[in-house]
Amino acid sequence: MTVYVIRRFLNYAILSLIATCMAYILASTVLDPAARFYGMNPRPPQASIDASLDAMGVNPDVPVIVRMWHWLVNLFTQFSLGTTVGGAQVTDEIFSRSGASLRLLLIGSIIGAVLGVLLGVWGAVRQYRASDQIVTYASYVVFATPTFVIGVLLMIVATQFNTLMGTQVIQFTGEYTAGISGSWWDLAWDRGIHLLLPTLALVLMGAASYSRYQRSVMLDVLGADYIRTARAKGLPRTQALYRHGVRLALIPMSTFFAYSFGTLIAGSAMLEIVFSWRGMGQFQIEAILKNDINAVAGSTLFVALLYLISSTFSEVLYAALDPRVRT
């Protein structure tokens, strides 16, 4: 089991590295780092443009493989991802921004997944009863609403609520109130209230989609022979389902968890932009708009590492649930 997990981990590690390299090459091909200088007035002399590009290691005259090699060498020897177009270290930027993203992503995805699985199982067991119908229709409405629309609609509701209360109860712009000071508790409360709406959006999204898949897989399991066997042995239906059904229904789900993690990362990136958070999603999009190759490659590496962790976790879950895969 340990060997199996380590092997999978190494597999994902190499994969993340290759994906990052491919992102580097793709970014170098698609983005034009010199465009920024050509737009300047007066336009700087070619020699100084080349010097700046060389300093960042993004001069398009140098073959992309050579640039990528330097980038990788710097990454492994100095733990440096190069500088952004603004001159800051990419690693510093990532460290200062990732906290906000990870907080949102972790809380949102865990609550969303747990809620989704519970609702899915509950819905499947009570198929076609009123509660199942309500959960089904509600999850479809959420599922049918794009992330940013959920975000904006939540903002509209929060504004109405604030007007009703006569004071700014729910804060939703930025990660915390600018220039806030106070006790530890005040700061935590401030961050919490800012976290409320984007997390709620992420939880709603996650719960809606996980519950649909869980219900669907669970229904497939319900008709299986071993459920019938368990019932023939005298186990009541509900117990047979919860004891034997859920475990099997979670097997395809564990694959789904890991791979839908990407959707969650993208979803939380969109929410960061909608709610004006200085997070990784916003960083990545800004990097592309600014033709910043180092920042694009660095943030891709960050996402790939998140992926590495979540995929390994899902492999562990998969192996724990289904012994047949440990081969």
């Binding site: 994902y12 994969l15 993340s16 994906a19 491919m22 992102a23 793709l26 698609v30 198929q127 076609y128 009863r129 009123a130 119908q133 089904t136 479809y140 409405v141 599922f143 049918a144 609403t145 794009p146 992330t147 940013f148 629309v149 904006v152 609609l153 903002m155 509209i156 504004t159 649909r212 669907s216 897989v217 229904l219 497939d220 319900l222 008709g223 097997i251 395809p252 694959t255 789904f256 791979y259 839908s260 990407g262 959707t263 990362i265 993208a266 990136a269 969109m270 932009i273 909608v274 990545q284 999009i285 592309i288 694009v296 891709t300 996402v303 790939a304 992926y307 995929s311 047949r324 895969v325």
Partner: protein, 308 residues
């Protein structure tokens, strides 16, 4: 809400031996249709979808304003009898723009969604069934695409899409949204390939392609159908999100995403700019999801009333 109704309508035409296939009185399609037409969800969904399609393509013909027409006398107006969904700050008609965006969403979704599922079914079942190095190569390729979320791949490629038509965007969406489903198909295939009926077919010398078509893929029909339907939803959503953030459809073309992006800033003060396109989008996606869910229940032989 439909529980009583459905049980009351449970017809004797559906005997227990339909699944075994020994002497079935109805073809599989007829049976699916029989179940489907008893589901209120299906009728609600399909009615709304058809109505929206007709509305999107006939509506503009019955309306005086086009997407780029500007009414200088009525700028930033709320909904009136003149401008049904109001106008934006430069006097463009929101109703006309919404319908035009809706047309694009419909075409993109109906092409890209099922296309992605077909790719997923072919790639996933081949990888899972054939195994060995074929599986490993496909796995690596899929994982490579998955490590970078599709949304970022899209925006990274957006400098290439810009200036090209939205039809190109549609194919991009199909090409980058099959991976998760392919993984699910692959792992389902791996558990199916050791089942007795597949093993029997293999020992009888049935070629791989035929086993995949006859035994593997049909056994995943329910999950594939629901994925194709939800794929329509997610393709429409991808386009909307990309355009919302400025990476998809470019001006002067409008899509629901660009409309919503324009409307966001004024969502609280002039809600019609945001709420109407948002509501139309949600209604469309909701209706398609209902049809998908009804199909799932109708196709799966072990679902619904066929169970104890």
């Amino acid at each position: 809400m439909s529980v009583m109704q459905e049980q009351a309508l449970e017809s004797p035409l559906e005997p227990e031996n339909t699944v075994s296939g020994a002497r079935r009185p109805l073809s599989r399609n007829a049976l699916v249709w029989l179940r489907l037409k008893r589901m209120p969800r299906f009728w609600i969904g399909i009615t709304v979808v058809v109505a929206i399609i007709l509305w999107a393509f006939i509506g503009p013909l019955l309306y005086p304003y086009g997407i780029t027409d500007r009414d200088a006398l009525n700028m930033g107006m709320g909904p009136t009898t003149l401008h049904w969904f109001g106008t934006n700050s430069i006097g463009q008609d929101i109703y006309a723009q919404t319908l035009s965006g809706l047309q694009k969403s419909l075409v993109i979704g109906l092409v890209a969604g099922p296309a992605a599922t077909i790719i997923a079914a072919i790639v996933g079942s081949t990888a899972g069934y054939v195994g060995g190095w074929v599986d490993r190569v496909i796995q690596w390729f899929i994982l490579l695409l998955l490590v970078i979320p599709a949304f970022f791949l899209f925006i990274l490629l957006s400098p290439l899409i810009k200036g090209l038509s939205w039809v190109v965007l549609m194919f991009y969406i199909a090409l980058f949204s099959w991976m998760i489903m392919a993984q699910v198909v692959r792992s389902q295939t791996r558990s199916l390939r050791n089942r007795d009926f597949v093993r029997a077919a293999r020992y009888m010398g049935m070629p791989t392609g035929k086993i995949l078509r006859r035994h593997i893929v049909p056994n995943m029909a329910s999950i594939l159908i629901i994925d194709a339907t939800l794929g329509v939803v997610s393709a429409i959503m991808s386009e909307t999100a990309l355009s919302y953030f400025g990476f998809g459809i470019q001006k002067p073309d409008v899509s629901l995403g660009t409309l919503l992006a324009d409307g966001t800033a004024a969502a609280v003060t002039r809600p019609w700019l945001f709420v109407f396109p948002a509501f139309v989008l949600i209604a469309l996606l909701f209706a398609i999801s209902l049809v998908g869910d009804a199909l799932r229940d109708a196709i799966d032989p072990t679902s619904g009333n066929n169970r104890d």
